[in-house]
C-alpha cells in the first residue's frame, strides 16, 4: 500500500492524541479517587452507587434518631426511680402512721412529710426535657398534672392515642419512646397520696389500711412499667449495635463499588507515560527524513 508523508504525519498525531486521552482519564481517576465521573462511564455502577449512597444516608439518619430515644428512655427511667423512692418512703410513713400509739402531733408531722413527698411527685410528673413533658405521652406541650393542690391529671391521660411517641429506627420500624402515662403518674396515685394525708390527719387507721393496699397496687403498676421500659431499653441497645454494623457495611459496599484502586491506577499511569514517550520519539524519527535530504 502506498504511504505518503501526510498519512504518516496524520497517523502520528492521532496516536499521540489518543495516548494523551488515556493519560487524561487516568489523571481524572487519580485526582477524584473514583472509578466513574459520569454515568456513561459505567451505567450499572452509577445506578448502584446512587442506591448505596441513599442506603448509607438512611442508616446514618437512624443512628441520629437513636440519640433522641436514649434521651427519652434515660430521663423516664430516672424520673420513675425518683417517684419509686418517694412512694417507698410514703409507704414507710403509712406503716408508721398505722401505729395507734401515735399522738396527733406525731401524725400531723407524718402528714406534713407526706405532703412534701406529694409535691415532689407532682414536680417529677411534670419533668420537662428540652421543653417537652415526658410523662404525658404525645401531648408534650401540656403538663400531665394540671393542678397542684389537690393534684389533678390532664383529661386525656387515659386516652390510648397519646400513648405512642414513637421514633423510627429502621425502614418502617418504630420504637416507642415514652412510658404509658396512665400507668405512671395517674389520678389514682395522687388520690391515694391525698387520701393518706387525710387519713393521717383524721387518725383513721382503717382508711390507712385500705390506702396501703391501694398504694401497693400503684407501686406494682409502676414497677411493671419500669421493667417494660428496661426491656425496651435493651432492645434499643441491640438496634444500636446492629445499626453501627450496618453503617460500616454500607460504607464498605459503597467504596467497593465506586472507589478506585490507587496502586493500580498509579501503575497504569506510569506505564502509559513510558508508552507515550516511545510514541513521541518514534514519531519524530519517522516524519522528518524524506528523499529530498539525499538528492543532490
Amino acid at each position: 500500500m502506498r504511504i505518503t508523508q501526510s498519512m504518516l504525519a496524520a497517523n502520528s498525531l492521532r496516536n499521540i492524541s489518543s495516548s494523551y486521552d488515556r493519560m487524561g482519564k487516568l489523571q481524572d481517576q487519580l485526582s477524584t479517587g473514583k472509578k466513574i465521573t459520569k454515568p456513561s462511564d459505567d451505567p450499572v455502577s452509577a445506578m448502584k452507587g446512587m442506591s448505596y449512597r441513599s442506603d448509607l444516608v438512611s442508616v446514618e439518619q437512624y443512628k441520629r434518631n437513636l440519640s433522641e430515644l436514649h434521651t427519652w428512655m434515660d430521663n423516664s427511667e430516672s424520673g420513675m426511680k425518683q417517684a419509686d423512692s418517694a412512694l417507698q418512703r410514703i409507704r414507710e410513713l403509712v406503716v408508721q402512721g398505722q401505729n395507734s400509739s401515735l399522738t396527733e402531733v406525731d401524725r400531723t408531722a407524718i402528714a406534713d412529710e407526706v405532703s412534701q413527698l406529694q409535691q415532689d411527685l407532682v414536680k417529677t410528673a411534670n419533668t420537662q426535657v428540652a421543653g417537652r413533658y415526658i410523662f404525658h405521652g404525645n401531648d408534650v406541650m401540656n403538663p400531665p398534672v394540671t393542678q397542684e393542690d389537690p393534684p389533678k391529671v390532664a383529661d386525656n391521660l387515659a386516652k390510648s392515642e397519646i400513648n405512642n411517641y414513637s421514633v423510627e429506627v429502621s425502614d418502617g420500624v418504630s420504637l416507642k419512646a415514652n412510658v404509658n402515662p396512665q400507668n405512671v403518674f395517674n389520678q389514682e396515685l395522687f388520690d391515694v397520696v391525698g387520701g393518706i394525708q387525710t387519713a393521717l390527719k383524721k387518725g383513721n387507721t382503717t382508711d390507712l389500711d385500705s390506702m396501703l393496699t391501694r398504694l401497693d397496687k400503684v407501686m406494682d403498676t409502676q414497677s411493671a412499667e419500669r421493667s417494660e421500659l428496661g426491656a425496651r431499653s435493651n432492645r434499643l441497645d441491640m438496634v444500636e449495635s446492629r445499626l453501627n454494623e450496618q453503617s460500616v457495611t454500607a460504607t464498605q459496599i459503597l467504596s467497593d463499588n465506586e472507589d478506585v484502586d490507587m496502586e493500580k491506577v498509579i501503575m497504569d499511569l506510569t506505564n502509559q507515560e513510558s508508552v507515550h514517550r516511545a510514541a513521541l520519539s518514534v514519531g519524530s524519527r519517522i516524519i522528518q527524513p524524506s528523499l529530498l535530504d539525499f538528492l543532490k
Binding site: S6, D139, I162, V167
Partner: protein
Amino acid sequence: MRSTFMGLETARRGMFTQQSALYTTGQNVANASTPGYTRQRVNFAQTEPYPGVGMNMPQLPGQMGTGVKAESVQRIRESFLDVQYRGENNKAGYWQARSDALSKMESIMNEPSDSGLSTVMDQFWQSLQDLAVDPTNAGARSVVRQRGEAVGDTFNYLSNSLSAVKRDQKDQVDVTVKEINSVVYQLDQINKQIGSVEPHGMLPNDLYDERDRLVDQLSSLVNIKVDYVKSGGNADPKAEGKAVIKLVDDNGSEQGVLLSNAGYNKLNVNYKGADDSVNTITVGAQTIDFSKMNSSGKLRALIESYGYEKDGQSTGIYSDMLNELDNMAYTFAKEFNDVHASGLSPNEIAAGKNDEIPFFSGASRADVAFIIDNTGSMTVPINNVKTNINNFASMLKDQGIEANLGLVTYGEVGETGGDPAKNALTTDISQFVNYVNSITMTGGGDTPESGLEAIMDPNNGAISYDAATGDLKHIILVTDAPVHDVTDGKSTYSITDVANALLQKGIRLHVVTDLSNTQLQGLSDPTGGLFIDINSPDFGTQLQKIATNITNDIGSKKGYASRIDVSQAIKDSLDNIATATGSVPSAATLGDSSNVKALADVINQPFDYGNNSEQSDFRNYYQNVIGGMGVLSQEATRLTTNSTTLQQSVDQKRQSVSSVSLDEEMTNMIQFQQAYNASARMITLQDELLDKIINGMGTGGR
C-alpha cells in the same frame, strides 16, 4: 516522402511533453498539503504515426512514430473509496452529534454526586426524620421548609438548564440547515462552472477537487447519494460531468433531490409538531415526515435531541428527560401534598380543624371561568357571587395564587340573550364585578338550559379561554336547572363527552346548583371538582371550599418541574407544617409525629412515576432514569469511537491512492528531467545532422 525536420519535431514534442510533466510534478509538490487535493498525472500518448492511410500515401516501410503528446492531466482518485468514506462520515457525524448532546445532559444531571437531585431528596428525607423525632422543635421545622425549597429549586434548575440546552439544540439545527443550504448552493455554482468547462474537452481538476471536498462536508450532515450526468458538447470521455445529489434514507431509497442539472433545492426544517417539535422536512417542494425518515447524519442527531413529533407526541432526548422530570416532580408533589393535607399542623390543632394545607404549590395564577345561568330565577345566586367574589380572590391571593376571572353567561340557545356570551379574562376584581352587574336576565322557557354549549362552544364557551401553560384551570358552573344534552335532543353534546374533553385539557369543573340536580355531578366528579349547594345560606363559605380546592390543585403535569415550589402557606408560617395525624382534629397533640413519618415515607412508597402503570419508589425510578441516560450515552460514545475509526481507515485508503508522496514526486522529477535532457540531446543531434546536410553536402572536392 519523409520531411526533413521530422526528427526535430519529434524531439521538440518530447521536450514540451516532459516539460509539462515537470510542471505537473511542480503542481503536485506545491499542493502537497492542500486539504482535499488529489495528485495529478499527465497521461502521455503517442502522436499519430506517419503516414496515415489513404489513396495518396507514400510507400514507406511501415508507419513511423512522430513523438509524444500530453493527452490529458488526470486526477488519481478512486471514486468507490469516496462513496465508502461518505457513508462512514455520515454515521460518524450522527454519533458525534448525539454523543455531544447526551454528555451535555449528563453534566447537567450531575449524578452520581453530592449535589444532584438524589442527594437533595435524601437531605429532605433526613430533615423530615429529624422533625419526626421532635415535632415541637421549631429549628427542625425550619430545616424541613429549607430542604423542601431546595428540592423545588433543584427541580427548577434541572428543568430550566435542560430547556436552555434544548433551545441551543434548536439553534444548532438552524445553523446546520444554513450550512447544508450554503454547501448545496456552492455545489450548484461549481456544477455550473464545470458544465461550462467540460464541453471544451478539458478536465477541470481543481473544480472536481473542490466539489469532492464540499460533498464530503455535506455527507456528514445528511445522508446523500451522488450521481453524475455527462456534460454534452465535446466532453472528454474521462470527464466526470455534473453532480446530482439526492437525499436518501438508510436503505438507499430516495427522499428528495438537493441538487440536479436544473438547479438546487433548499432544505427546510418545520417546527409545527406538538410543543414546537419538528414534524417535517421540506426539500424544495417535497415534504418528508421526520418520524418516518431514517436517514442518519448530524442533522438527524440534532433534531432527535431537540425533539420531533411521533404519534402525536413530542419525543426526543431532551423532551423525554424533561417529561421524566415533570412526571417525577408532579407525582411526588401530589402524593406528598395528599399526605400533608390529611395531617394537622400546630396552627390547625390550635384551631381545631383541618385546613388541608398543601406543602408544594404549582402555579401562581388560576384562570377561573364563572359560567352563570342568566335566566330569571337566578337573581339571588348572582348577587351572592358578586358579594363574595372579593373574599374568594383574596383567599387565593393569600396562597400566592392570582385569580384571573372570566364570565360566560347563558340561557336557552336560540332565545334573545340566551346564546353563550363570553367576557375576557381579567385579574381586576372590580372589572369582574362590572361584568356581573351587566348581566341581563332572560326568559328561560323550559327548565333545562344550554349549559353544555356555554362550556363547549368553540368561540364563546369557557373552553375557548386561552390559558397559559402552568395556570390552574377551573370552571365554576352556577345554575339552578339541569342542562340540555344529547338525550333530550336540544343539544349536540353529551355529559360524558364534555367531561372527557375537560379532563383532556386539565380543567376542573365545579358545580354550584340545587343538590337534587345530580345530572351535573357527571361533570364535577370525573374532573375532580366540587358539587356545592346553590341554596346554602352562607354562600361565602361554599365559595371558600372551592378556593381551597383550587389552592390544592398543583396544575398540569407539563412543565411542573420548572414551577414546583413550597406553597405560600408554608412560607408564611412554620407552624403550618402538618406533623400530627388528622383523624381526630380535636384530640391531636403536638408531640404526635405520625404524619411526619408518613411524609418521610412518601419517598419510599411505590407510585406510578413513569405514567405507564408501573409502580416504583422515587429513588428507584430516578436511578432507572439516570441509568437509562448513562446507557444511551455510553452507547453513543462507543459508536462514535467505532465509526470514527472506520472513517479514518477509509480515509487512509483514500490518502494512499490520492495524496502526494514527496519521494515519488522527486523520483518522477528525476525521470522527467533526464527524459528532457535526452530529448534536448536529440535536438542537438538533429542540428548536427542538418548542419551536415545543409553545410556539408554538395561541397565535395572543394
